[in-house]
Every structure is written in structure tokens, then in C-alpha cells.
């Protein structure tokens, strides 16, 4: 794939690249706008650099997930504005009391008026304990199961793509392995929840 200019690339190109299975563009976007976001957010929040960096990672991860899951197929604003707005929303969610400047920018405008952002909410609105339990359950799986499940359910790869990537005899073999791994995961979560 031809390398995209992360500064000038438009939203449609990014979305098309991600849908075509080129997650590398996320790294370019992450690097291209990271410093700008850190500077921008630190002016708006009394927060640690680590929290702001976390917000930026969250924004990139959320954008990626929304695109590959098909929830986000086009953007009304630029990718940069969307990422800034999501990072901003994450900071508001976790550090609302630390907000210090009340001016309005295009990100505020997008957050208030863009349906893609007004309707958007962070899925993992969980207690920290529950979040850690679920991640620990995943960690307890075999590397093969983890990889397969993440590819299928996080990166939204099709069964055919998994068959092409891994050494399985058939689609049925892929499906059976996926089913088995998912059952193991459910069992582990059940056991960990009981404790």
C-alpha cells in the first residue's frame, strides 16, 4: 500500500485504508498529531502528561475500532478534529474537574453538533476492578486463542482472512477454534467472577 501523508490525508482515505486491512495508517496518524494534541489538551486540562497521552491513545484506538467495526463509515469533520474531540471527551469523562479553560474551538463545536460524536460514548464504562478482571481473563488464554479472538472480534477480520493468515485446514476449523477459545474465555470470566 502506498504510504499516506498523515497530515493531508482525508477521512475517506483513512477509513478506506483501515477497512482494507491496513492498520499501519493509525501509527502515522498517531505520530502526526500526537504532539499537537498533547500541547492542545495540556492547555485545557490540569492533568498529567501521562493522562493526556492516555487520552490520545484512547482516541486513536476508539477511531480504529469504530471504523473496523463498520460503525464509522464517513466523517463530517477531519480525522484530526475527530481524534481531538474523542480525546477531549475522554478527558472530560475522566478529568472533568480538571478542565480549566472554557473557550470554544472546532472540537467543542464538533462535540456539540456532530451526530457521530454526540451519539458516541465509551463502551468500556466499567469499574476498574471489572475491567482488570476481564483483561486478566484474556491473559489466561493461550497465545493462539488470544491472537485469534482479537483478530476476529477486535480487528473484525473475516473467517476467510483468518484462514489466509493462519494455518487452518478450512473455514470450519477456524470457526471451531474460535468457538472453543470463546467458550474457554467465558468459563474463565465465570470462574473469576465467582471468586
Amino acid at each position: 500500500m502506498e504510504k499516506l501523508d498523515a497530515f493531508n490525508v482525508n477521512a475517506a482515505e483513512v477509513i478506506a485504508a483501515l477497512r482494507a486491512g491496513h492498520p499501519g495508517i493509525m501509527e502515522n496518524l498517531y505520530d502526526a498529531h500526537r504532539a499537537a494534541f498533547l500541547g492542545w489538551a495540556s492547555k485545557r486540562f490540569y492533568s498529567t502528561p501521562s493522562d493526556i497521552e492516555d487520552a490520545w491513545q484512547e482516541a486513536v484506538a476508539v477511531f480504529y475500532k469504530q471504523v473496523v467495526s463498520g460503525q464509522l463509515t464517513a466523517l463530517k469533520c477531519s480525522v484530526k478534529t475527530f481524534l481531538f474531540a474523542v480525546g477531549y471527551k475522554w478527558l472530560l469523562k475522566n478529568h472533568r474537574k480538571m478542565k480549566r479553560i472554557w473557550w470554544r474551538g472546532e472540537e467543542d463545536e464538533a462535540l456539540a453538533t456532530d451526530p457521530q460524536l454526540t451519539a458516541f460514548s465509551f463502551d468500556d464504562d466499567l469499574w476498574e476492578e471489572e475491567r482488570l478482571l476481564l483483561i486478566a481473563a484474556m491473559e489466561a488464554l493461550s497465545p493462539q486463542c488470544k491472537e485469534l479472538l482479537v483478530d476476529r472480534h477486535y480487528h473484525e477480520r473475516t473467517i476467510q482472512e483468518l484462514l489466509d493468515t493462519y494455518e487452518y485446514a478450512s473455514k470450519n476449523a477456524v470457526t471451531a477454534t474460535l468457538s472453543s477459545c470463546l467458550s474457554k474465555l467465558k468459563l474463565i470470566i465465570k470462574e473469576k467472577t465467582k471468586k
Binding site: 484506538a61 463502551d123 468500556d124 483483561i135 477486535y154 468457538s179 470463546l182 474465555l185 467465558k186 465465570k190
Partner: protein
């Protein structure tokens, strides 16, 4: 739980069911406890995968070296411009500093355009730490240049009274020759004539005064200052008040403002000095303040 039910649950969470199928699914969840439990367990497993996948992605982004942003290529003209501006400002500042540190050439007074002004061999000015001091030194130099005129007998306030003595004619000849050379601005010859004077005559205030006068005119300010101060301290000398004035000017030339003020104050209150000399001293003192 049957394979079909598991497939149905997966399709529901993938948003792959039609609206009618989704409604039927939700109705079954409300009615069938086991089915509901399985659906929620599936949802939790998917959430675990998503959390883990996101953590993995964030970790990958965090731990990988940052790709050098291409933005550098966009901002370099700005950076170049800013650097040039900083360099220009530095250059301007250094040049201004040099200008302030450079000793000002004495301005020849308009009344005597041919009068030589001592310069060049003057004691180097002390290095001043800040601009205020540099400016002050520059100002004293300017004042010196304006106030300095080689001694002219008969000029305003320059009348030297005779002490009434009748010295040896030979010695008088030597002293008169010395004085004449000094008044004619032949300072090098004046100094040579001084050296030819007998030792006793060399110590006379008049001889010392004219020697100092020539030394100052030739820019040998330090040597001149010592001689003027010696003559100025002698209350009996007819040249004492003139020596006070020139001692003050020597101090101005070397940037020693307190000493210049001291000599001017003494001259200002010297009853043996003429009124014109006292006024001149007071005016210069006022300018120094």
C-alpha cells in the same frame, strides 16, 4: 446451548440481525433465563476481547519509537526565519555594545579648531559591567572634549599673577622658553625644553604646570594628572587654580568621576581662583550631576 443459539447470539452482537430478528432475540432474552445468561456471558467475553485488543493496540503505539514527523519539513522555513531574526538581533546587540564601549573621539571646540585634543594614549577605560556605566564613561569623555582647551595665557580666567620674585635670568630664559613653546602648542619641544632645565628649575610649579599641560595635550593623561595634582595642592602656586581645573579634566578623561567632582568642588570654593574660573568649575560640576 445449541450451536444455532450461539450463532444467533454472535450475530446479535455483531448487529447482523434484522430489526424483526433483533426484537425476537430481545423477547427471548426476557423470557428465557438460560438464553439470557448465555447472551450476557457472550457480551462480557466480547467486552474482554475488546478491552484486551485496545490495551494491546495502545501498548503497541506507546512502546514503538515515534515515527519522525514529516511536519519538520513544513516548519523549516519558519524555523529558518526565526533563527535569522535571532542572529540579526544578536549582531545588532553586539554592535551596539561595541559602539558604547568605543571611546568617543574628543570634539574639537569651534572656538579653536586647530587645537589638538589628547587622545590615543589615554589609559584604557575600565571595562564596565553594564551599559549605564558605559554610558556614564562616554558622557564624561564628551564633557572632557567640550571643556578641554590647552592653557592660553590671557584667556578668560587664565591670568597668572606674578609672584613678585626676581629669579635668575638664565633660569627665567629656560622657563620662559618652556612656557612659550607650550603656549605655541609645540608640546613635544616643550617637553624637550623641560628636560634641559636644571634640576632645581624642573621642580618649580610653573615648569611642572607647563610640562603637564603638554603631556595632556599629547594624550599622556596619567602623567599629566599626577603633575597637575601636585601643582594644585600647592596653595602658594600662581598656577594652583589652573592645575585644579586640569586635574579635574584629567579625571574626567580617565572616567574617574568622583575625583573630577572633588577637584571641581575645590576650584569652585577656591578664593584665589578668579570668578570666571569658579563659575566654570561650578557649571561643569552641575553637568556632572
Amino acid at each position: 446451548m445449541s450451536e444455532q443459539d450461539l450463532l444467533l447470539i454472535e450475530q446479535y452482537y455483531r448487529n447482523a440481525l434484522s430489526e424483526a430478528e433483533s426484537l425476537a432475540f430481545e423477547q427471548r432474552m426476557a423470557d428465557d433465563e438460560a438464553f439470557r445468561a448465555e447472551a450476557l456471558s457472550h457480551k462480557k467475553a466480547l467486552l474482554a476481547i475488546e478491552l484486551y485488543g485496545k490495551e494491546q493496540m495502545k501498548k503497541k503505539l506507546r512502546e514503538r519509537p515515534l515515527v519522525k514527523a514529516d511536519r519538520l519539513y513544513r516548519v523549516w522555513p519558519w524555523m529558518l526565519g526565526i533563527c535569522t531574526l535571532i542572529l540579526l538581533m544578536l549582531f545588532w546587540r553586539i554592535e551596539s555594545q561595541k559602539q558604547l564601549e568605543k571611546p568617543t573621539e574628543p570634539v574639537t571646540p569651534s572656538t579653536s579648531p586647530t587645537t589638538p585634543i589628547p587622545s590615543g594614549t589615554a589609559k584604557p577605560l575600565p571595562q564596565q559591567a553594564d551599559n549605564d556605566n558605559i554610558k556614564q564613561t562616554t558622557n564624561t569623555q564628551k564633557l572632557f572634549a567640550t571643556a578641554y582647551h590647552p592653557f592660553q595665557e590671557g584667556g578668560t580666567g587664565n591670568n597668572v599673577r606674578s609672584n613678585g620674585q626676581n629669579p635668575d635670568p638664565d633660569k627665567m630664559t629656560g622657563l620662559n622658553q618652556l612656557k612659550q613653546l607650550a603656549l605655541e602648542q609645540k608640546h613635544a619641544e616643550c617637553l624637550e625644553a623641560y628636560e634641559k632645565l636644571p634640576a632645581g628649575t624642573q621642580q618649580k610649579e610653573m615648569a611642572l604646570f607647563f610640562k603637564a599641560n603638554s603631556l595632556l595635550a599629547l594624550g599622556r593623561t596619567d602623567e599629566a594628572a599626577g603633575l597637575f595634582e601636585g601643582v594644585a595642592s600647592s596653595q602658594q602656586s600662581a598656577y594652583a587654580s589652573h592645575a585644579q581645573w586640569y586635574a579635574a579634566l584629567c579625571a574626567l578623561k580617565t572616567g574617574d568621576l568622583p575625583k573630577a567632582k572633588k577637584w571641581l568642588q575645590e576650584l569652585g570654593s577656591n578664593n584665589n581662583a578668579s570668578a570666571a574660573q569658579r563659575t566654570k568649575a561650578k557649571n561643569l560640576l552641575r553637568q556632572l550631576r
